[in-house]
Chain length 131, copies 2
């Protein structure tokens, strides 16, 4: 298939930011959802390490730059509308800044939201007392 404008996520559709899902390449577990702008996407493709755009900090977020919990990207997919990105990754350490393997560690049940995963690390050990 030749390269074309369809080969590129449609960042304009998200006013410059598109959701990117990280999925564990080995287990299939959905690890997290973050956001990418064009620069984050390009750096991800170029380096093979997941780079997102932090909406709160308003800058590129090289996943693991502080925690060491990097994501090596095995494969990148676009959805049918080219407005969502899916990464299959090899995750070092927990994906979640709360210390859980996945950010989706809470299940909605009729009795309320319940933690259904086991903490892998203590976030205070990773990020220091400020967490």
């Amino acid at each position: 298939m030749s390269s074309s404008s369809n080969d590129r996520p449609n960042f304009a559709a998200g006013n410059g930011l598109l959701p990117a899902i990280a999925q564990d390449a080995t287990t299939g577990q959905v690890l997290m959802l973050a956001w990418m702008n064009a620069a984050a996407y390009d750096e991800t493709l170029r380096t093979g390490q997941a780079v997102y755009y932090s909406r709160s900090r308003q800058k590129l977020w090289r996943k693991g730059e502080e925690s060491g919990h990097v994501q090596r990207v095995e494969a990148v997919y676009l959805d049918c509308d080219s407005d969502t990105i899916l990464l299959r990754v090899h995750q070092t350490g927990p994906a979640c800044h709360e210390g859980y393997p996945s950010c989706f560690f809470r299940q909605v049940t009729p009795e309320g939201v319940k933690v259904v995963a086991t903490r892998q690390v203590d976030p205070r050990e990773v990020y220091g007392a400020k967490s």
Copy 2:
């Protein structure tokens, strides 16, 4: 865990709309990403069928209402920031309106974007000639 405001997705964080990931409950395949407002979320929980909010049509989108390709929801998860929803679903037919099992049927490769899945149905047979 007692019910609290943390038991609810933080729809305000997304100006009323949050991304919702649908994952196949059996295979773990990521099927699609769509959007939910509070009404879509509540109806999903109440009925056990995935309901999204269509940004293009600006109304509730009961997944499968036209195609029959409904999603029965097995479990619902919230992420650490309560601003992304993950559904584990049992999908009837293809999840994607293009007729593929998943919307993420295109992989980004050094040679461009390649279709890496097999079409399950012809969209024209599902939606009629207008597709």
